[in-house]
């Protein structure tokens, strides 16, 4: 498995988080943009429906006003009489003003059956427009662009017993005030257009606006409008068109503001993630790195010292615990080493005298042998045995015997050189492996020890014991193996010791094989 550091993972996680945040931002922005634009379009469609509803409502209202006049019995009577007797139409004007003057309309006109004006002679343009209508047997409503501007005109016939006596037309101006009123309802802009020229609009300045549409969009004064045409059925071929629009620029500005806000949040989020990541790396990595380095040293067999923290978090506590663990391991290791040394020492020494034992003799002899071989020296084995030691044990007890042994080992330590090797071979028998120039020198060395023992009584409680010892000396034979040389040398020293014992004790004998090289001699107390 490929190793990835904690830092690398953290960086990857942060990168993933940043990618996630960015993706969320992009998705959210595009979604909101789509929703807002869709909703804006839907809103415009609804507004268009609302405006058409308003126009239909106004149209119905205007038609109702026309019907109120046209269906009034008095109007019919007046029309009947006026047309019948050919009198003045002034009574009809009076009747209209008295009975219908309250109607909230801008222009009204009453025509006779021949479409001659009876009431409203000042509105000849409207009458002319009505005269152009080929079929007005049924009531109708149309939009008319006259000298006063665009008008919604409701035309109703005045009938009596299926005879058309005349017509009444009432109109409402769709002027700037009307557009402004609609603007207050829809919060959009209106454009009254003819031949791509804006005749009137709710915009404050429209003189330079060219009504060029591009996919339902109009740009005026650097503002983009999504616009829809409001249906205006009418009789004039050159009647203007009414368009309603809502500013997309405003929506886009809102989107931009929203995007800026979201972008700010995104940047803040990314910075937050980075700062958080850096803090995590800084706060977690240092203790982790220390622990990792320490563990590597531990694996390598070291138990280094680890500084402790003033623990404020889990990592520092872990590091402190690890420091304590190392300390404990160090102490434990020290104890083990001491124990090991003690065990090692006890394995090669005699516990009573502190001298090396026989086992160590076998261990160390090859080195001594090799050294002597390389140096061309003579290595001598001096076996020393306390005389009548068994009797001391029997007479004074083993403790007294042990006292004799320790006293003897002290004398050995005092009388031998540092280069000499002292062994207790067992019981009261000891061995000295030492280098001498010749056997005489070795014999003198051994006899000095014997003399010292003889002169040194051993005190045990209130008992004073005098000791003597016997010794045998042999020289290592070169050319054999170390094991064979040791065995041979010990056998020959032991034979010399046997000779010393048999010769009356308290003396040193040299193995005859070794004595022949220089002089064959036995050193005893008498010599």
């Amino acid at each position: 498995m490929q190793f990835r550091s904690y830092r690398a993972k953290l960086v990857i996680y942060m990168a993933m988080l940043i990618v996630f945040l960015s993706a969320t931002f992009i998705y959210s922005y595009t979604y909101i943009q789509r929703v807002m634009l869709d909703e804006s379009n839907n809103h415009l469609v609804r507004l268009k429906q609302l405006l058409n509803g308003h126009l239909n409502s106004e149209r119905s209202e205007l038609e109702r006003y026309a019907a109120i006049v046209a269906q009034d019995l008095r109007v019919k009577e007046y029309m009947y009489v006026i047309t019948g007797i050919g009198g003045s139409s002034e009574p009809l004007s009076k009747l209209y003003e008295r009975e219908f003057g309250w109607l909230p309309i801008d222009r009204r006109i009453i025509l006779n059956g021949s479409r001659q004006i009876l009431v409203g002679r000042q509105h000849k343009d409207l009458a002319a427009a009505i005269q152009k209508i080929t079929d007005i047997s049924n009531n109708t409503t149309f939009y008319y662009q006259g000298k006063m501007g665009l008008e919604m005109v409701a035309l109703a016939s005045i009938k009596y017993r299926d005879n058309i006596l005349g017509f009444v037309a009432v109109s409402r101006l769709l002027n700037r005030a009307w557009l402004e009123k609609k603007k207050r309802i829809t919060e959009g802009e209106f454009f009254l257009v003819r031949n791509k020229q804006v005749l009137m609009t709710t915009l404050s300045d429209f003189r330079n606006i060219q009504f060029n549409l591009n996919k339902n969009k109009l740009v005026a004064d650097s503002v983009a409008y999504r616009i829809y045409q409001i249906d205006l059925p009418g009789i004039s071929s050159d009647k203007p068109e009414l368009w309603f629009g809502s500013s997309e620029t405003e929506i886009i500005a809102k989107l931009d503001k929203h995007r800026s806000t979201m972008l700010g949040l995104l940047v803040t989020g990314i910075i937050g993630v980075l700062v958080l990541g850096l803090l995590i790396i800084r706060n977690f990595s240092r203790p982790l790195k220390e622990i990792r380095d320490i563990t590597r040293q531990v694996v390598a067999g070291e138990l280094p010292h680890l500084e402790k923290y003033k623990a404020t978090n889990e990592f520092e506590e872990l590091s402190n615990n690890f420091s304590d663990m190392l300390k404990a391991l160090r102490e434990q290791q020290k104890e083990i080493e001491e124990t090991h040394r003690s065990l090692e020492k006890s394995a090669i020494t005699d516990s009573l005298t502190g001298l090396y034992n026989r086992r160590y003799m076998h261990d160390v002899f090859p080195n001594l042998y090799a050294t002597a071989e390389r140096a061309g020296q003579f290595l001598y084995a001096i076996i020393l045995d306390l005389d009548y030691f068994k009797k001391i044990n029997d007479r004074y007890g083993h403790l007294a015997g042990d006292q004799c042994l320790t006293s003897f080992s002290d004398i050995l330590h005092q009388t031998t050189r540092a280069s000499d090797h002292l062994f207790r071979l067992g019981g009261e028998e000891f061995l000295i492996l030492s280098v001498h120039n010749n056997v005489i020198e070795a014999a003198k060395f051994a006899d000095k020890i014997r003399a010292r023992v003889e002169k040194t009584p051993v005190a045990y409680t209130n008992i004073i014991m005098k000791l003597t010892l016997s010794g045998g000396i042999s020289r290592m034979v070169h050319g054999a193996t170390a094991e064979h040389a040791l065995k041979d040398m010990l056998a020959r020293a032991d034979a010399a010791l046997y000779e010393a014992k048999n010769s009356g004790r308290n003396r040193i004998c040299i193995n005859p094989d070794d004595a022949s090289h220089n002089t064959s001699m036995a050193i005893n107390k008498s010599q």
Binding site: L73, Y78, V81, I85, P91
Partner: protein, 278 residues
């Protein structure tokens, strides 16, 4: 345009009839009389009187007067008043009692701007029948005559029938209205208009009408009494066949009381009963 349908007042319902009062309802022209002398009538009857004829939906018409009279009963005494003569056949059929009050002259109205102020009885009838169609034919301006009529209570004798006996005798090209108010407005509107209404009608300041003399005679009680003014009608009270004593006293006071004669003088009415003696 002739409107042939008779004006039908709102029906009076027994369930809505107020109790504890004497209720009177009917034609506007008679209502003027009763309203003017209400205090005297209440004194005579010894009861409060509720009158409907102008401002109420209960009044407005002779038929409403007859219907209200038929609603009479214990605790809800009532009577009616009409502006047209009631025939004997109708009296018998509807089982009512008619109490004539006064003759009312019918004014012939023209527009205020019309210079004509006098017409003969025959000229009036020729105008209403359509034989005369322009005012210049009777000494006026060259102006088409617009005939305005209110041909109500067609089955009853008298009233507008003193001008022409039958509705079909009137000019067909005319304005026929359903109320005196409309009559006055039409005559005000048309400069060449001619119409008719009772003398008790109270004109308003904005009305541009005037009444003319007939054969040089004004529409007065004196000229009616002398049978020289030709156009008139009879104003009456009506009850069912069993009016209460208080209603009888009330109607008697209306026929003969001082207040009535005062009202009659005010509106040029010709009383049909002698005043009560002290």
């Amino acid at each position: 345009m002739a409107e042939e349908a008779e004006h039908c007042p709102m029906p009076v319902k027994a369930d809505n009839h107020p109790t504890g009062y004497i209720t009177g309802a009917g034609a506007h022209f008679s209502w003027i009389i009763f309203k003017s002398m209400q205090q005297d009538l209440e004194k005579a009857a010894g009861q409060k009187i509720l009158l409907y004829g102008k401002d109420s939906m209960l009044g407005q018409g002779c038929n409403a007067g007859i219907r209200n009279a038929k609603l009479n009963g214990p605790g809800k005494e009532s009577f009616g008043f009409v502006c047209c003569p009631i025939s004997k056949a109708e009296i018998a059929k509807k089982k009512i009692i008619v109490y004539p009050l006064a003759e009312e002259p019918i004014l012939i109205l023209v527009n205020q701007s019309n210079p004509v102020s006098n017409l003969s009885k025959q000229q009036v009838r020729d105008i209403f029948s359509g034989k005369i169609k322009n005012w210049k034919e009777v000494g006026g301006n060259d102006l088409p005559i617009v005939v305005v009529t209110r041909l109500h209570c067609k089955s009853r004798p008298g009233h507008w029938k003193t001008i022409l006996p039958d509705a079909k005798d009137f000019r067909k090209l005319r304005l026929n209205v359903s109320s005196a108010d409309e009559m006055v407005k039409r005559v005000s509107d048309f400069e060449g208009a001619i119409g008719h209404t009772g003398s008790t009608w109270e004109f308003e300041s904005g009305n541009k009408v005037k009444h003319i003399k007939i054969d040089g005679l004004k529409p007065t009680a004196e000229n009616l009494a002398k049978r020289k003014y030709p156009f008139y009608r009879v104003l009456s009270a009506v009850t069912d066949e069993h009016p209460s004593e208080s209603v009888k006293r009330l109607i008697h006071e209306a026929q003969t009381g001082k207040a009535f004669f005062k009202v009659a003088r005010q509106y040029h009415l010709l009383p049909l009963n002698k005043p009560a003696t002290e």
